[in-house]
Symmetry: C2
Subunit: 143 residues, 2 copies
């Protein structure tokens, strides 16, 4: 059930070693409630682990991404953020003010997909959906 243990097991099974810079990166990504750019992640990790290099961040992100443990979060101007991966039919819903992200289930997209398939003649095999809005804390209070 512990996400960190799961990630570490998967990394080790794929021949990766768990070093202390790598553990610090994993902790930071898992603890983050929002998408992070590599440089942003680097700064966060450096607080707990001052000697770390940006290159290590990039290399660790590569491995996490190729294992499907993290995913890119796409933004209007560039798509450099990463975040712990959605599972199954889940998609991100991102707060445009504070960046906080939650996951929601997109199951009923299947109706839309079948309609589009018969209209277009395409065979759809992947989809990609993100919602943007304001999280409860960032909504203007009424009154």
């Amino acid at each position: 059930m512990d996400l960190k243990e799961k990630w570490i097991t998967l990394l080790q099974e794929s021949g990766c070693r768990i070093t202390s810079p790598r553990a610090a990166i994993i902790d930071t990504v898992i603890d983050s409630q929002r998408g992070l750019e590599p440089l942003e992640l680097f700064d966060l990790v450096r607080k707990a682990h001052p000697g770390i290099g940006l290159v290590t961040v990039y290399r660790t992100l590569d491995r996490l991404e190729s294992l499907g443990l993290i995913q890119r979060v796409h933004q209007e101007n560039g798509c450099h953020m990463v975040m712990k991966a959605a599972i199954g039919h889940e998609h991100y819903l991102l707060c445009t003010r504070c960046g906080k992200a939650v996951l929601f289930d997109g199951d009923d997209l299947s109706r839309l997909v079948s309609r589009v398939e018969s209209n277009s003649g395409y065979k759809v095999n992947d989809h990609w959906l993100q919602l943007f809005g304001l999280c409860p804390a960032c909504q203007p209070s009424k009154g």
Copy 2:
């Protein structure tokens, strides 16, 4: 009804001049059935207009994007492609083999959005959806 005329009018109304490199770029983007990266677009335009510079491509794309005439197409590894913009509730459906894109209407996403809003407490004000698949020409023929 002619898309090119519409773009040119909008560009002129916003204070832009229609130069011959710019016209060549517009032609190429409008004629393309697929998303194009800046460098790819540059090469295409250069065939018809050999003297053109890559910088002109970038600057023209900036203007087209800020007028909402083109949009970024997001891809797995980076989001550098642009394509003529979707209108209203339309979204892209991209062929993963040949890149050909068609637009489909995503109206009925509103049901999903209301469900997600009540589950999450977020106020959703934007969404972003792309489908990926095989276009009719790229599907393996049966037999």
